[in-house]
Symmetry: C2
Subunit: 554 residues, 2 copies
Amino acid sequence: MKIIVIGANAAGAKAASKAKRMSPYADITVVDRGSFISYGACGIPYFVADMFHDEKELMSTPVGVLRTPEFFRKVKGVKVMTNTEVMAIDRQCKKVTVRDMTGAVSELEYDKLVLATGSSPIIPCFAGCDLTGVFTVKTMEDAVFLKHAALSGKRACVIGAGLIGLETVEALSAKGMQVTVVEMCGQVLPGVLDTEMAALLEKHIKSKGVNVTTSSCVKSLTGNGCVQKVLTDTEEIQADIVVLAVGVTPNVELAKAAGLSLGETGAISVDDHMRTSDPDIFAAGDCCETINLVTGEKIYAPMGSTANKQGRVVGINVTGGDAVFAGVLGTSIVKVFDFNGGRTGLTEKAARAAGYNVETLLSPAPDKAHFYSTSKPIALKMVADKKTGRLLGLQAVGAGVVDKRLDAAATALTFKATVDQISQIDFAYAPPYSAAMDNLIVAADIMKNKISGEAKGIAPQEVKAKMDNGDDFVLLDVRSQGEYDQVRIAGAKLIPLGALREKMDSLPKDKEIITFCKISLRGYEAQKILDAGGFTNVSFMDGGILTWPYDLEK
Amino acid sequence: MKIIVIGANAAGAKAASKAKRMSPYADITVVDRGSFISYGACGIPYFVADMFHDEKELMSTPVGVLRTPEFFRKVKGVKVMTNTEVMAIDRQCKKVTVRDMTGAVSELEYDKLVLATGSSPIIPCFAGCDLTGVFTVKTMEDAVFLKHAALSGKRACVIGAGLIGLETVEALSAKGMQVTVVEMCGQVLPGVLDTEMAALLEKHIKSKGVNVTTSSCVKSLTGNGCVQKVLTDTEEIQADIVVLAVGVTPNVELAKAAGLSLGETGAISVDDHMRTSDPDIFAAGDCCETINLVTGEKIYAPMGSTANKQGRVVGINVTGGDAVFAGVLGTSIVKVFDFNGGRTGLTEKAARAAGYNVETLLSPAPDKAHFYSTSKPIALKMVADKKTGRLLGLQAVGAGVVDKRLDAAATALTFKATVDQISQIDFAYAPPYSAAMDNLIVAADIMKNKISGEAKGIAPQEVKAKMDNGDDFVLLDVRSQGEYDQVRIAGAKLIPLGALREKMDSLPKDKEIITFCKISLRGYEAQKILDAGGFTNVSFMDGGILTWPYDLEK
């Protein structure tokens, strides 16, 4: 039994190792065009930032064993050919043509073939991308070059404010560079976060001295051999180095040339066993598409975590086993400076686009018991299906712990949980870890109240639009006088919650009233008090002051 | 509609507030025998440790609003009577007899009654518990007294190494006290962790200078007015203060006197709507029993988090709504010094006692990408049902992040997930949060391998028993020479994994071979290599060196 694996990183290395464990007498060869194998590309920004100095760390197991071709041969029993490019796949004769670094061409036969060809950074079509000082963040070579080019005091421009773009922004800032990030869309992390959540992250990045330019289209890079300027549709940005981080594209040339089916996403089409349109050829990792478990749609969502899971499934199936890879939730997360931001499932935008009857909420709160010394704020945005109460997605941003709320939500999404079910999960509680009611429980409870009509929330964007329109409504701040004196929304009327039952007669019954507080729990109480007092057009503003993405009066 | 709530802490305060929001015209009165209401008892150890100085923090909302009777009246529209004890419940006439602090007795009528009478610390039956300097950790008064009695340089003895006991150990150490903790069972956190996991936590506590005495029975406390000594069955412990932390018991006197059903656990029996045996009386929080969602059995598992969830359910049902509280997973967690430890679902011990066909594993690994600067080790112990592959429980301990793995596992347990399903969850991955394959994914994969028979693990306790028995087997260390030189298990034979394929002929084919490495991933590889090499009696030791709970040679 001969198995050839093309690509020796996450998915390929995993598939080969697993296959050998499943089928110890199989003859397994991994072919890779690079000289570095099985490296963690996701770690490159931290290597660039000098968190560690030896690039070998990126190619080591958690206990420090270096994953070399020698390691694969001796430990895994798998042959690895590096610096060897696969030129073509002959599906008829079941063989691949390879060329090694000397230029020598040979053929390798296979019974089963695995495509783990990965992805490549997209090189934009504007001029100047070939100038010296223009980088991408993908290979070990990129990593080493960028680390040495990132000099303190110099200027860097990162093009693209996605996950890799923002990690690179942090890394280059850590090196002492002056950094500008340019994003074509109107927000950072487009596709990952909804606008108001991205705004909170953007505020933090700016507070660290980074120039953030959104809704800005790069026209060209200019320079005399070395890059010097980034020209956008509105400005000229001086830059000693430029990092292109506008996304990745699946490496499908070999698959395409061999006549394998590609999906509408442009990536290799696979079934739930990771089998391509040829039953003897499997694919895994960044080169293939997968399924969004919430919508059931095919998507392209390359992630190191997914590549490993798919590699394992392929390792089993390629040796005659029967494993399924069900799909992903589009979960992604990024740390930028002292802020975390991520998502699992659908954003509001994506949920609306998919046709759901959407309810949303914003819920800011400390990530631990509020009196615990290391507690820090986070904000959750929950998206649910109004009809069924099913969770559709969760976004979480803030200085505090967001990943655990995302992981719990990802688990809940996997089992198509309703918010009612989520509100009762027995999470691990002690003050160093959460409040007695975890942020996710609070959010689920609010969502239940909203879906039942008991709580009437309105998004900050809608409130802002009403203000900008000059609508006649009362924006009612129910915080304390002390909180109001510190910071407030211009035009809001203050009646502290404790006085509301007594003073509600001072409010007009014929006008819309929108209440809020710091996080809008008191805002919600105020809505309930006014409802009970006979007011008929009252809602509270989601998330309160803490997630108001616009200017505040101080 | 008149609603009386007995008890103004977590469950009672929540039930009253929710009821008022659901039914704004209801007349709601909360009666509490204490003078402090709605305080977070779980925060007491951190108050004692001087993490904050104002006990009002424990009675505040996350945004700093103090929850006084005035607050409940003005904001929540709920009347709170403090320092008022309920003497009796007359179910026939639907009224309660109360006595206020002046001794005046009166009667209050109800349509619906809520019991949120909480729990009390168990006072052991040995002599001396009434001496000055003997404390419990439950009320605000306890908190203030203990904080002032905890003097630097003095000696404290904590009796009971459960969750509250260990939090108190940390608090008193933080105050500069010399602390001894005495536990009757053979391990710390009995009932929370299995022995080998508890051993890892105990090692850490000892490393902080705390004396930990397990399997030790306190016989009496002695002293001349003030406590001076703790006498156990084996020793005398000098102590300037003693903290009793041997557990809590539900406050059921009122319920019992009123003829309401108690469960076998001794706590108030309720249905899934939190209704007692009297349809007009509900109960919530520490005074009532609940259901273990894994086994379906009734248990007594008082937790602040559960009390809040149940209070909400009661608030809805008491006003005519229809909410269900399904049960709990026995999730608990504790931070002690720089170590975290917790559990959700069943321990191995509990799972075996419940009759499951149990498979377990130990999986230690860094909590983040191994190269990430703040990554720290954690160890997971997973317990699954061999027959169905269903997760039964997860334990997690270590210096790294354990709570997020517990929360994801708690979510998975809620949906009766199999380890196969867990192994594919799309968790949030980036190097600051986890390895590409999260610890929980790795554990689930190993569990799948074990259940399928592909991986043959053996628990460290079993290996130790074989060694102690003098069994004839090969304990095979497959780490590197360098790792071996640093630390090793006495009697183990070293063949680094990379040399195993070449040197396997030096091993006896007729003997049992048990392989291990640092975390036993290489140990597992070694098992596979030897299996393929024709060895028939090979297994790897779960968790490797990192979770070996016995002595190591250095």
